[in-house]
C-alpha cells in the first residue's frame, strides 16, 4: 500500500484584524497542496482571507497530566484582576 499523506493542522484568519484560528486538519503531500485543499475543505463559504498550514507532527502540545502544575497557580492570584481593588466612586472612572 502507498504511504499515507502527512497530516496538517489548518489555521484560518476569517477577516483582517483577527487572529488565525485553528479550524481542523487534513492530509496533503506538501504545504502547497495543503493550502489548496484547505481552501476547498474549510473556506467554501468565504470563511477566510488567509490560511496557515502546519505539519501536525511539528506541534508540541502540553500533556493533559500537566494541566494542574501549569494552570492551577493562576487560580489564587485574584489580585491580577482589576476588580480585586476597591476604588471609591469619588475617584471617577478608572
Amino acid at each position: 500500500m502507498s504511504r499515507e499523506w502527512p497530516l496538517w493542522e489548518i489555521f484560518i484568519r476569517s477577516q483582517n484584524g483577527l487572529n488565525h484560528r485553528h479550524v481542523g486538519s487534513l492530509h496533503a503531500p506538501d504545504a502547497e497542496t495543503a493550502i489548496n485543499n484547505a481552501r476547498d475543505v474549510y473556506t467554501r463559504r468565504k470563511e477566510g482571507v488567509s490560511i496557515w498550514v502546519v505539519p501536525s507532527k511539528e506541534i508540541t502540545a502540553s500533556a493533559p497530566s500537566e494541566k494542574g502544575p501549569l494552570f492551577d497557580p493562576a487560580e489564587d492570584k485574584v489580585y491580577r484582576h482589576p476588580t480585586f481593588y476597591d476604588i471609591p466612586d469619588d475617584v471617577g472612572h478608572m
Binding site: 502507498s2 504511504r3 499515507e4 499523506w5 481542523g24 503531500p29 476547498d40 493533559p64
Partner: protein
C-alpha cells in the same frame, strides 16, 4: 441517522475510580479532548460511530453524483455540485475527528473498502429520476439534520466541533431538495408524478436512517450516558415524521402510509414502521445498490493511486532539493 446501529463498548461490572471520574466530567457537561484519559470502550465506540458517519458522507456523494451531468439546468447543476462537494468536506471533517482517537485515515478507508465498516443503509437505494435529488435533499438530509443537531452537544470535543460545522452547512442541502420538490409538485402532471414516486420510494428508507427501535438496547444506554448519543432512535424518528408530514401536505403529495394519523394525545403522528427485515438485509450488503456503491468507491480509490503516489513522489523530491540547497548554502 448516518451512524446506524453502532455497537457500544461499555465496561462490564464495577466502574473503576478513573471511569467514575470520567463519567462525572461528562455529567457536568465537560468536553473530552484528544489525549485525555478516556475508557477504552468510549474511544472504540466513538471511532466506530464517527468513521461510520464519515463513510456515509463519502458514499453519500455517489447517488447524487449520478445526476450531476444530467441536472435540468446549469443552476441546478452548480447547486448539486456544491452539495456533493459539501458531503466530501463533511466526510473529511469527520475522518479528522476520528483520527484524534488514534486510528489512521488509511485504516478507516481500508475498513470501508473491505466492507468491514458500515455506512448508512439509505445510500444503497438507486436514484432513478431527477425528483430523487429533491427527495434526498428534503428527506435524507432532513433526517440527517434531525440526528446531527443534538450531536453538536456531544461530549467529545473534535466530534462536537465537526458536527457544528456540518450543521451550519446542512440546512442548505435540505432546502435545495425541498425547492426541487416544490418545483416538481407544482409542475406538469408528469413532474408531479415523479415527485410523488420519489417520495414513495424514499419515505421508508428515510425512516430506517434512525436505526431500529433502541428502547431496550444496552448499547444505546451506554452511549447515551457517554453523551455520544443524545436521543433514542424512536424519539428522532417521531420528530422527523412530525416535521415532515406537514411539509408533504404543503407540496400536495401523499406520504405512502395509509395508517398515518395525528394522535392528539401524544402530540405526534402514529405511523407505520419501515420493514426492518429489509433494513437488516441492506445492512448486510444485500440492498439494491450495495455492490455498485462500494465498487464505485473502491474503483475511484484504486484508479487514483497513481496520482496520490505521484504527488507523494513530487513532495519527496522537492523536500530533498530544499535540503540539498540548504546544505550547499552552509
Amino acid at each position: 441517522m448516518y451512524a446506524q446501529m453502532v455497537k457500544s463498548e461499555g465496561s462490564s461490572g464495577e466502574q473503576t475510580p478513573e471511569e467514575k471520574g470520567f463519567q462525572a466530567r461528562i455529567d457536568a457537561g465537560d468536553k473530552i479532548e484528544p489525549k485525555e484519559w478516556m475508557p477504552e470502550g468510549y474511544r472504540k465506540t466513538l471511532i466506530r460511530q464517527i468513521s461510520q458517519h464519515a463513510h456515509s458522507e463519502i458514499v453519500g456523494q455517489l447517488p447524487e453524483g449520478n445526476w450531476i451531468t444530467r441536472a435540468p439546468t446549469l443552476e441546478r447543476k452548480q447547486i448539486l455540485l456544491a452539495k456533493v462537494q459539501d458531503e466530501a468536506g463533511h466526510g473529511l471533517y469527520l475522518y479528522s475527528a476520528a483520527e484524534t482517537l488514534g486510528i489512521s485515515r488509511d485504516e478507516m478507508l481500508e475498513q470501508l473498502h473491505s466492507g468491514k465498516a458500515k455506512y448508512s443503509s439509505i445510500f444503497n437505494y438507486p436514484t432513478l429520476t431527477w425528483a430523487d435529488m429533491g427527495a434526498i435533499g428534503w428527506l435524507v438530509d432532513g433526517a440527517a439534520i434531525m440526528n446531527q443537531v443534538p450531536l453538536q452537544r456531544t461530549s467529545y470535543g473534535p466530534y462536537s466541533r465537526a458536527m457544528i460545522r456540518i450543521c451550519k452547512e446542512e440546512s442548505f442541502h435540505q432546502r435545495q431538495g425541498y425547492h426541487i420538490m416544490m418545483k416538481m409538485a407544482r409542475g406538469t402532471d408528469a413532474q408531479r408524478e415523479m415527485a410523488q414516486d420519489a417520495l414513495n420510494r424514499f419515505w421508508y428508507p428515510a425512516l430506517m436512517m434512525f436505526g431500529p427501535s433502541d428502547a431496550n438496547s444496552v448499547h444505546s444506554e451506554q452511549s447515551m450516558a457517554w453523551k455520544i448519543k443524545i436521543n433514542t432512535n424512536d424519539e428522532l424518528r417521531q420528530r422527523f415524521v412530525n416535521e415532515t408530514v406537514p411539509q408533504a401536505e404543503f407540496l400536495g403529495l401523499e406520504v405512502p402510509d395509509p395508517d398515518l394519523a395525528w394522535n392528539e394525545e401524544k402530540g405526534g403522528y402514529d405511523f407505520t414502521q419501515p420493514d426492518w427485515d429489509e433494513f437488516f438485509e441492506v445492512l448486510k450488503g444485500n440492498g439494491p445498490c450495495n455492490k455498485e456503491r462500494l465498487g464505485t468507491r473502491v474503483q475511484a480509490w484504486e484508479e487514483g493511486a497513481w496520482f496520490r503516489d505521484g504527488l507523494t513522489a513530487y513532495a519527496d523530491k522537492a523536500a530533498k532539493r530544499r535540503e540539498a540547497a540548504a546544505t550547499a548554502a552552509e
